[in-house]
Amino acid sequence: MADRSAALPLGIDAGGPRIASAAPDELRRDLRLIAEMIEPGSRVLDIGCGDGALLAYLAREKDVDARGMELSQSGVNACVRHGLSVIQGDADRDLDAFPVGAFDVVVLSQTLQATRRPRHVVETLVRIGKRAIVSFPNFGFWRIRLSLLWRGRMPVSELLNNPWYDTPNIHLCTIRDFVRLCDEIGTEIERSVTLDRHGRSFSLDPRGGLANLLAEQGMFVLSGKA
């Protein structure tokens, strides 16, 4: 299977290392893609920031006012030890206090599927961020469909490597599901990127069936409501 550090995880636990000291070219490919979308000097909140690789990169390379939120104590402590501003918390519980438009960009990378209330989380992202960048594993990817069809069991692969009874990924969705959610809550999709398992992007219409079948990852830039 692919090199883990370059691969895009389907399960968040399968994510490559997000080391705070990572050099620019060592930053995971999907995070690099996110970093490219962020204007220098902006105010950014990275939710589920791991041990702060993206934050450290943004602070160092783009002079960004970088803040983070992370559930795991080890991740938070690693970030704070490296001088990053990170709070221990989770997307379900700890985003509500932020005021409208508090950030230029809110990033939720590989975390949406692990939240208890994904709809509320997305609504909150576009409330507190002028823009929100959301990436998640596409459960409509053809291999996953085939795995369920052929084997008749919940898909487990090297990328989606948690058994159904022991996974943080409780709200998996397809790209089409996510687009529908954005329509329902009236959020404008500014831009979308489809990605393969190595984090390489290719351009397919997110509303079309092909993206939902061929993309292992969806990455969406949403307009904030502020």
């Binding site: 006012d65 104590q73 402590n77 030890r81 490296h82 001088g83 005021p99």
Partner: protein
Amino acid sequence: MSTVTAPLLKRPGKEWPGHSFIVSEPLRLDCGIDFGPFTIAYQTYGRLNAERSNAVLICHALSGDQYVAEPHPITGAAGWWTTLVGPGGVLDTDRYFLICANVLGGCMGTTGPKEVNPATGEPWALNFPVITIRDMVRAQKLLIEHLGIEKLFCVMGGSMGAMQVLQWASSYPESVVAAVPIAGSARHSAQNIAFHEVGRQAIIADPDWCGGRYLSLGHNPARGLAVARMAAHITYLSEAALHRKFGRNLQDRNAVTYGFDADFQVESYLRHQGSTFVDRFDANSYLYITRAMDYFDLAAEHGGSLPAAFPGTQPRFCIISFTSDWLFPTSESRALVHALNAVAANVSFVEIETDKGHDAFLLHEPELFATLRGFLAGCAEHRGLTRFWG
């Protein structure tokens, strides 16, 4: 036996090591009294740089004092944050200028109820005005101005020290670059007030307290103060830590004695905590300082809104709690984080896993040290602060 005068009470404050600053202008206190002149006793470590930009104010807890990193002048015990302070330490004395002042109402040199009221020639006792955390911080601000420091690089402290840190951020946000409240809260909870009331009643119930006038009458309510300390000390630990340290082990005996001697090690330990405390602490000070903590409620000062307590450009915060702290539980720190998020302040929040309870902030806790070191280094870099000589 309880009329024996404690070492603390025999010695006038001026004999103790460190510095003092006399505030000559009266200070308007929250209770409405203009108080003064009064003395602030303080200790410093390290050197203030030419830009006066490297000052760190350390705020001590209820039973702490300004002897952060040197032997205590009465007990000889190591300073309460000795493990953090020193060249190359978390609080690097080659880099920072550390200041710690005994709080207003205290008993280690700063004016408190055991000092003489110039109007009567007798100790203040209960005629001392009731002070608040904000009053303590007002006094600290006068000291900082006296030292010619416009902006503190950092204000930090645990427990009641954390309350002072929050009060600094609320009252003087422009004067603080970084704020580190550890094991603290923006208000004293009903449970915490209840524990304090038990301690105060233990002191007041001691016949040697004499309506607070024990100093004038040559007594010392050592029993009451020791019981107050024993009760409080339990709240600083955790069930797990007590069990780990003592279990049901017996003290210097093989069987229980069917009496009320200290059969158990935990009893002996608490008695020791109580008896050593009375040697260095004044009972009336204990009443006044616990009262100050009880009255602390930052949101109440701002119409019930905690976010409103943090106006203007706030310092960078590093909020730290401990998993087994049931006196100032993580939920209190999290409420604080939410309030600071609401004003979009720059906040870090770390909950440290430990079974040591509230007192973890005073103990060897490597994760705490690593967090503080990283946070301070990040702030120093942000502020362009480098090591002094080197």
